[in-house]
Amino acid sequence: MRRILAAGGLAMCLALAVPVAAVAVQPDEVLADPVMEHRAREISAKLRCPVCQSETIDESNAQVARDLRLLVRERLVAGDSDAEVIDYVVERYGEYVLFEPVASGSNLILWYAGPAMLIAGLGIGFAFVRSRRRPEAPVEELSESEKTRLAELLRD
């Protein structure tokens, strides 16, 4: 099911890319300097293709993804740092293109949810395990009716 939809989204991307469809990074985009190219790939893997469904610009075949890949390389060649390149793209395309949401403002909830839940979970688990070390309620007292019945039985 998930894949069908994923493929549906992908189909959208591919359809947009017709007829220049090919797989993602093209040979003519690759930078001569392998270190620079490696940085470009790392950055591309964090940026979302704006017209696709959950695809990075590194994976996508859409025209805009290609444009963005070229833009990233252009900025790198111009001497930008990785962070500057990402800021440059985000300034123009919005926070939406960031696959790794910035840890600021309301997004802090997202980033701290995991550790907070883990601490809470382990705390509850620890409290539970501790409570299991000894019987919490000793053997229950007999009820009134049971006592009467017992007395009756003993009298016989």
């Binding site: 069908i4 469809a21 939406y96 997004n107 382990l122 070390r133």
Partner: protein, 662 residues
């Protein structure tokens, strides 16, 4: 005619489901045997009716009846037969019909194999199962009817999305649905037990096989999807953390947690109320997944707002079932008293840690998946949450889980000694560290993922072997091996499944850390180096497929002058759907895959060629299969076959072991 029959049967099934939801429930409440007995009969009838309906839709696809809207939109006369059949569930309407078919199948299986259940519990389980059926049958009939006719049938159809025309993907949805829907049994058992007010070891023994079966199917389904992505999308990615994938991964995590907590209920009568909650949430997350995928809310909030009918309907189903079950839980949970006592160092504690880690991991995926929606609704922030977030936020949980798993697995119930466990695991730890160091030395990159993952994988596999060895008791090697061979299948299942997880983790880590990639322009006849291989592009030709045009390359991979493989990567164009696809050519190996992709012709001559060495790729899916085999071994254990014993006692014909989804 056949189509109308199918449509009619679906409506009848809706009626039967309503009957099955009400009559046994009332019967169980009043203690009326006759009313309770309606449950099993209705479950079988409902399944038969939906099966006829499904067969009718399949018939329409096979005969290319384009007067049906879904057939027109998703099929074509030139499509190979396998994909005509797979096309039945390759669209929204048909996939929902498959969903209710499997739901009814599980209900019928519970009716047939649930012989040893107390009659009132069985009646209530079937009733709850039917309520889910009513909701989804209504959803199909009122919002997504696959039997809709077109007034003017076109001559031919629009074809199925070519990406879906693949054997791996043809069987991916049925397995996934068997998993999703299988969890409905755990849910029905939980709700029935809450109504009943009784949860004990016997309940856990009944609910566990269903959960196990669902988990096995989910494991296979997810692995198939991931494997398909690996070879079909053309660059060898195997997991993208996209919301649709997460929708299947969350129930998998919770089902895994439920499997383990149900053991504690069964053996020690502790963790009862938590297990009930997990059973409710595991199916709840299946419904959440269905909502996310089916409502279109993932694609964009606006797509959802423009066509909210289906989304709102599923949201309503989700609210009613999850809300109802949780309310019932809040009222009744207090009555469930834990009995078993255990020390701080014990298998119980280990399983509690397992549950905390799995549940929190599932919640992290949940929060990350829904965050874009929440952020847009509350703060108007349009943002994305993708792989970099999940890699960072999710991975630590699995590292922790893998680190403590072998320790927890060999701890005894009630009270254990860490010293003894440490001595037993010392060889496994040594091996794991050695593997980690080896991975560090051999790594092409310098990331920590490779060594840590390889070490953890080795730790899990060798820990599983230690587990097996400890179960063999004392004595000479011969005596021990004899005892190992006679161990209960549940023990084998545990060892095999844990080892499988190790294999998967090892594969993921080594593939992620050490893949080699090469992108270049190659002319026919030219060669280039890829790692220790020399790849030659021999020729590129054009052919016609049954329903596509293809550009096929012939490439030879040589190592030290010896031919390793001749591969044929393709680029296809499906003219009806007007869509190109890449068919990568892969030379599968135990330690590496060679992965070749042919791209577009270049302006100055030559072809764009992408080639990869993917180390340990197949270990990822092999591990998943091993996990599923472990689950199946555990499922075939005597303990879960009590139904057979019960059937034998009452003189009924012997049924095969509980396999709810044959």
């Amino acid at each position: 005619m056949i189509t109308e029959l199918g449509h009619f049967c679906l409506i009848l099934a809706f009626g039967v489901a309503i009957l099955q939801a009400l009559v046994p429930l009332v019967g169980a409440g009043r203690g009326w045997q006759g009313w309770m007995a309606v449950g099993p009969a209705a479950a079988l009838v409902q399944f038969a009716l939906i099966a006829v309906s499904f067969a009718a839709l399949t018939h329409a696809f096979v005969t290319s009846d384009f007067s049906l809207r879904v057939v027109y939109e998703n099929s074509h006369t030139a499509k190979p037969m396998l994909y005509k059949v797979a096309g039945v569930w390759g669209n929204h309407e048909g996939s929902m019909l498959l969903w209710v078919l499997i739901l009814a199948l599980f209900g019928a299986a519970a009716a047939v194999f649930g012989g040893e259940l107390p009659p009132s519990l069985k009646a209530r389980v079937l009733s709850v199962q039917a309520m889910i059926g009513v909701a989804f049958l209504a959803f199909i009939l009122f919002t997504s009817n696959p039997f809709d006719r077109l007034a003017l049938p076109p001559f031919n159809g629009k074809d199925l999305n070519p990406l879906l025309q693949d054997p791996g993907l043809a069987f991916h949805p049925p397995f996934l649905y068997l998993g999703y829907v299988g969890l409905s049994m755990a849910f029905s058992f939980a709700v029935a037990a809450l109504i009943e007010g009784r949860i004990d070891a016997a309940w856990a023994r009944w609910v566990r096989p269903w959960t196990l079966a669902a988990w096995i199917f989910l494991t296979i389904g997810i692995a198939l999807g991931s494997w398909w992505a690996y070879y079909e999308l053309g660059w060898g990615g195997f997991w993208f953390w996209d919301p649709v994938e997460n929708a299947s991964f969350m129930p998998w995590l919770l089902a895994a947690a439920l499997l383990h907590s149900a053991i504690v209920v069964e053996k020690r009568e502790a963790l009862k109320s938590w297990t009930i909650l997990l059973a409710i949430m595991a199916f709840g997350f299946s419904l959440v997944g269905t909502f996310l995928v089916r409502s279109g809310v993932i694609t964009s909030v606006h797509a959802f707002a423009n066509d909210p009918e289906r989304g709102v309907f599923i949201l309503l189903i989700l609210a009613v079932f999850l809300g109802g079950a949780l309310t019932l839980y809040a009222v009744r949970a207090g009555q469930m008293t834990a009995r078993g006592m255990f020390g701080m160092v014990s298998r119980e504690t280990g399983l509690v840690i397992n549950n905390v880690l799995l549940a929190v991991a599932a919640l992290v995926v949940f929060v990350g998946t829904l965050w874009p929606l929440v952020a847009e609704m509350l703060w108007g922030r349009v943002l994305s949450v993708g792989a970099p977030f999940f890699d960072a936020a999710f991975t630590p949980f699995f590292v922790l889980l893998a680190a403590v798993l072998p320790v927890g697995a060999i701890l005894p119930w009630k009270r254990g000694q860490l010293g003894r466990v440490a001595r037993a695991l010392a060889p496994a730890l040594t091996l794991a560290l050695a593997v980690a160091v080896l991975a560090w030395v051999l790594a092409t990159g310098r990331s920590a993922v490779g060594p840590v993952g390889a070490g953890l994988g080795a730790w899990l596999v060798s820990g599983a072997l230690v587990d097996l060895w400890l179960r063999a008791g004392r004595g000479g090697i011969g005596a021990r091996l004899g005892r190992i061979a006679r161990l209960p299948r549940a023990d084998w299942g545990r060892v095999v499944a844990h080892g499988g997880l190790g294999v998967t983790i090892l594969g993921i880590a080594l593939l992620t850390a050490n893949a080699t990639e090469d992108i270049r322009v190659v002319r026919e006849g030219e060669s280039f180096d890829l790692g220790s291989y020399v790849i030659t592009l021999d020729r590129v030709e054009r052919f016609e497929g049954p329903n596509y045009h293809t550009t096929m390359a012939t490439m030879t991979a040589r190592q030290g002058g010896r031919v390793v493989a001749v591969l044929h990567p393709e680029k296809r164009l499906y003219p009806v759907a007007r869509m190109p696809t890449t068919e990568a050519a892969i030379d599968n190996g135990v330690f590496r895959d060679l992965y070749l992709v042919i791209g577009d012709p270049q302006e100055g001559g030559g072809w764009a060629v992408r080639s990869y060495i993917k180390p340990f790729a197949n270990w990822i899916w092999m591990g998943a299969i091993i996990m599923a085999i472990g689950g199946a071994l555990s499922l075939s254990d005597r303990r879960t076959r009590v139904a057979v014993a019960a059937a034998r006692r009452t003189g009924q014909p012997l049924q095969p072991p509980v396999q709810p989804a044959e």
